[in-house]
């Protein structure tokens, strides 16, 4: 209750309820502050920050919001908003070893910077993909160094590592020398955004947006000569130790970081980036996958009397919501995902809309599904047993869920996902056109031209 108690106390406070000595103490603090702020206003540190950050405005350097071509905002705000948008459906990507969603923070910062600098500094598709890979590697290697303590302590590992990945990517795009790029890494590392407590609220996606914007800002500041520490990650009080709470775990994290940095370029993390086939927690993907397959096999929901699912124990721990009330809750319901899979043969964002979650037919199918945790079942595995009218039984075994490392999404499946979700915003015809543009970015001599058409 501390948060609400603090909020209530502050809300209720009035000037007349404040003792006079407290008002006087506040005045002395403000007075002293004012002198300090004026005295520091022409300090080189302040001037570097001003020079670096003031040029970004919606007018002098507009940047592009994906899917919203009529809106232009400042480049840092574009990084923030694109970052939010990319994560808000929980449908992005997953580096499975760390459950980092790496592309959101890095690409959001990059695309904003690329459109900002265009057309004076055209950036080729090959260059863009190279710096994207560098940023994703940085974020995932850092995640591996601090996993799992960092996550179990309560940090949203996507954003806490993503700002650093974004700084590496944008800094590299700016062609910063290595020492300046190290300062950019430090400037991003010191901005540790993202508590897991915020999951289930708007704030979860803000983490991704803020990580993009923090990394963007870090690179822009470093370019102006703004300094941090060139030992920001490994120092005694550096990122790696601090974000696992120090102690022995901190020592282990720094040691692992050294090893992971040593294997950069030999062992690639971007290759292990998986794509979500369904916009919900990854643990229930195998069960949904099986239900989609049953639909494709011709199983009619009208004939289903009961479905028995045997799943990995985490499915029941994390997604056992039997009667979700809205789309957000449905993301934590293996029953909902399975039901729409059986009913519609798909489980995309449309199937997680509030009205679908509350639809009577969907509710009816949901109620026929039973799920049991089974220690003998792998995280990406599911066994389904469907009891049909007349005593018939159909069995489906999913050994590896679609989107897992053993059964990655194909380019065709990625394209289906793209057109399906983009179509909800822009219509199917435009979605197909934009899909072609997005694939074609690899060969573009000036990616900004492509991005601004998206």
């Amino acid at each position: 209750m501390a948060t609400l108690a603090l909020a209530h106390w502050a809300t209720d406070l009035t000037p007349s309820s404040l003792p006079a000595p407290i008002l006087q103490a506040a005045l002395r603090s403000l007075y002293n502050y004012t002198g300090c702020a004026i005295a520091g206003s022409n300090h080189p540190t302040t001037l570097k920050a001003h020079t670096a950050l003031a040029p970004f405005s919606p007018n002098s350097s507009p940047s592009h919001l994906l899917g919203q071509p009529s809106s232009t905002v400042s480049a840092p705000l574009a990084a923030l908003l694109n970052g939010i948008a990319s994560h808000v459906h929980d449908y992005d990507d997953t580096h499975l070893a760390t459950i980092i969603h790496p592309t959101g923070p890095v690409a959001s910062a990059l695309l904003s910077y690329a459109t900002h600098t265009s057309p004076s500094q055209p950036i080729s598709g090959a260059d863009l993909l190279t710096v994207l890979a560098a940023g994703i590697e940085a974020a995932c290697k850092l995640g591996l160094a601090v996993w799992p303590t960092h996550y179990s302590t309560g940090w949203h590992i996507t954003s806490t590592t993503g700002s650093i990945g974004a700084a590496v990517a944008v800094g590299k795009l700016m062609k910063l020398p290595a020492r300046q790029l190290a300062h950019a890494i430090g400037l991003a590392a010191t901005q540790v955004t993202g508590l897991r407590e915020m999951f289930g609220s708007d704030c979860k996606s803000l983490h991704v947006g803020r990580a993009a914007e923090s990394g963007f800002m870090a690179a822009v500041l470093a370019q102006e000569g703004f300094t941090s520490s060139t030992e920001a990650l490994e120092a005694k009080r550096g990122w790696c130790r601090v974000v696992v709470g120090g102690g022995e775990e901190g020592e282990r994290a720094v040691e692992r970081l050294g090893e992971l940095v040593g294997e950069l370029g030999r062992e690639w993390e971007v290759e292990k980036n998986a794509f979500k086939p369904f916009p919900c927690g990854i643990v229930c993907h195998a069960a949904i996958d099986g239900c989609v397959q049953l639909h494709e096999d011709g199983v009619e929901v009208g004939e289903i009397e009961r479905v028995e699912a045997r799943v990995h124990p985490l499915v029941m721990e994390l997604t056992a919501k039997k009667e979700p009330k809205d789309g957000l809750e449905a993301k934590f319901s293996v029953f909902h995902g399975a039901a729409v899979g059986l009913l519609f043969g798909k489980a995309g964002p449309a199937e997680y809309a509030d009205e679908v979650v509350r639809n009577a037919e969907v509710v009816e199918v949901r109620e026929k599904i039973e799920a049991k945790a089974d220690e003998g079942i792998a995280a990406d595995e599911a066994h389904l047993k469907v009891h049909l009218a007349g005593g018939r039984v159909v069995v489906k075994h999913v050994q590896h869920a679609v989107g897992s490392l053993d059964r990655p999404m194909t380019d065709e499946q990625l394209e289906w996902k793209f057109v399906d979700q983009v179509g909800l915003v822009l219509g199917e015809a435009k979605a197909k056109k934009i899909s072609d543009l997005a694939w074609g970015i690899a060969d573009s001599p000036d990616v900004a031209a492509v991005i601004s058409a998206i």
Copy 2:
């Protein structure tokens, strides 16, 4: 070396050095990202953030930089730059029990918001001081809850608590209902900026600026209905536990937080806010104070043969730099502070300028000073013994340094400090005029008019 190694690896990476499957993996990640970002671009979460943050531009809502009346920037950037400026000389204020410098983040956010909303919503001096007090209380109570583990782990406690203080202050100024203010607290709490590793670089002051801007943004988002968690501070994975690394210390922190919130309005922290008389580490203030007093007593540096100082052990641990090379290093040199105190009778920002630090006369006095740690001496105490030509000895005992809680800066001393440091930027006559304006803010019916004249 991990930071520089990562930077070098990224800098050296070229498209042609990337294996084709890695470029393809990067393209798949970018393609999938693009679809997700478009699909999320019209989601309510994204739209709320867009609506909340887009209005802030240097044109549509300019905000004021203290001491730089010709510069106008967007309100969030003003919060950031004023925050940097207020802390960059290490000359601000100190809540001694937590070594938080509380006013920088809170006031920087507040003044930006106040000038942004003017003249449509005039804010009185009494209201401004009330919300400032609320923000300072919030930051310091949170600091007390997590002290000392949070700081010893490596966090810059001024900025990690300051963003929350700023959100409380701005949110209260906006008259957010308590529940929305709780969301603002959560939105600020999830942005944990500031590693101590950055001390000694530009980045240290950035922490204060970013805390101000994060708190500002948190309040603006909450006003638009953007949600976080209303248990952001005390939850199992909330701020309080996470920023001390969890475990038993986390439980203790949450317990203390509950007690501290319970005493809000009865036990005030803003009253315990101390002001720095010298722009350097607080541990050496007693020794400098003694030297300034010796100058005032008429001791001539030309006659000094040797100074013996007995000081608290921390002075030697933190500020024993005998031959500082520049102003920044001089902040960590009790010898420099003592030397300019003896020589000039003051130790303000002018006495920490690089050229003063390297001045031959200053160097000569510095070399005559010896300092020894003494376990029997308190943190705000110093014993000085000056050996003069001809065998005379002068002794000075400072029981409580100026600026300590036992000997707080008087209003006159605060004013001297204000005019001295502001005069370096704007000249003495203007500094005196602005000092009067700054004291007078308490009685102003519209503080924005005052701020924009500062």
